[in-house]
Amino acid sequence: MALAVARKDLRGELRGRELLPALAQFVVLALIIANFAFDLDLVSGPRLSPGILWLVLVFAGLVAFGRAFATEKESGSLEAMLLTPAGPASIFAGKALASAALLVACEAVLLPSMAVFLGSPISVAVVATVLLATGGMATLGCLFAALAAQTRARELLLPVLALPIWVPFVVVGGRAVQAAMTGQSLAALPLSGQPLVILADFDILFLVVASLAARFVLDD
């Protein structure tokens, strides 16, 4: 059922043709701005890349998740979904999946663009880190998007709520990407201290928290 919700969302977005190109455009423009704002060259490019990556990702995420529940609110379809046996948890899971997919699509544009425009060394480790972080960020972003959509000040509340909760992901993910890009090895850390493991732990933890909270956010 969650899959059905996800599929419906994705199909809507693909059909609508407004969000994906807009996100892609945003990403490329952000990179161009970064290039000039930071005065990047061969040396500073790779050094600043981790920061730029996460900055762009966070803002793209805010845009994507803001949209996730905007249509639902406009068309009143959230209520229609709640009246089915699907249950708030599945509905939430579906929307989180769809949002995560959108964010991944965004990354598919971002990472190669960074490699090309900024000369960032994108490796498997970088991709894996970003993907893992996306999972957790999507879950939480979706939860707060649903929450903010029900209030009068959606655009204001979503960043205020989402950014603090994304900080751990950016901190750990940022360090991991930085290490990967500068060739630093983190193998000295114990397994439980490995960034990918930590990110996975975060993902699981917040997935549980969000699933429990979804019921209260979506339904009265």
């Binding site: 204001l156 205020v160 950014l163 909760i165 900080v167 750990v172 290490a179 933890l205 209260f216």
Partner: protein
């Protein structure tokens, strides 16, 4: 009116406590050899931070109790604690910055350690909590959504702390600080304990006062509602 009297007594005791603490900080505790007189700010700074976290615990407890049992009083407690907590967090943060300036010269690589970041995040979570309360439909929706914010925030703050600590262990050359040095001389320790108790008492008093205010506000709302209902029930409308 005994309700009011109790609050007055409580406030008086709290203020008295703060005066004693002030005395201890400035007159009793010795000056720190390394950091100079600025170090005295740390007593209030740490106490404020502890008070801020204690208030947050109340916010979360209230939120959980509300979601579980639908208790309006718990929500009221959460509301009250949130307002007070925000103040103490701001205080702790500002004091931290003032203290850090001469010590670290606001070097970003040293300023954003685990505690500072967690406190900053706590502040934003508080702000988010209060904003959600303001912008959601008043009544059940506001209480419900705010409770969720509080709970998720509660899970988040320790995670932030942990992740920044993790980050710090990889950052070379970081000096782990302990205010006043690795071991506090007994006078300082005593001053600190007294201050902490005084601040906690003050925080508790503020929460109690705030709770009263909210209770009165709720009562006013109930009366407005009852008036509307009575008006509706009068024979003229049928």
């Amino acid at each position: 009116m005994t309700e009011n009297r109790r609050l007055y007594v409580l406030t008086a005791v709290a203020l008295g406590g703060m005066l004693v603490a002030a005395g201890m900080i400035f007159l009793y505790a010795p000056q720190d050899a390394l950091q100079g007189p600025v170090q005295r700010i740390f007593y209030l700074h740490v106490s404020s931070a502890i008070a801020a976290y204690a208030c947050f615990a109340l916010v979360v407890a209230g939120g959980v109790a509300y979601l579980w049992k639908g208790s309006l009083r718990s929500d009221r407690l959460a509301r009250a604690a949130a307002a007070v907590g925000l103040v103490f967090t701001t205080n702790a943060f500002v004091m931290g910055m003032i203290w850090a300036k001469p010590i670290w010269n606001w070097d970003p690589s040293k300023t954003w350690d685990a505690r500072v970041t967690s406190t900053a995040v706590l502040w934003v979570v508080y702000a988010g909590y209060l904003l959600v309360r303001r912008f959601a439909t008043p009544g059940r929706q506001a209480m419900r959504l705010a409770a969720v914010v509080g709970i998720v925030g509660f899970a988040d703050v320790p995670i932030v702390h942990f992740s920044v600590q993790w980050w710090r262990t990889l950052h070379p050359g970081r000096v782990i600080d302990a205010p006043g040095g690795p071991a506090l001389p007994p006078e300082m320790l005593l001053a600190f304990m007294v201050t902490m108790l005084a601040v906690l008492l003050l925080a508790g008093t503020l929460v109690a006062v705030r709770y009263r205010i909210e209770a009165r506000r709720d009562a006013l709302e109930e009366r407005a509602v009852a008036a509307q209902l009575k008006l509706a029930a009068s024979p003229g409308s049928r």
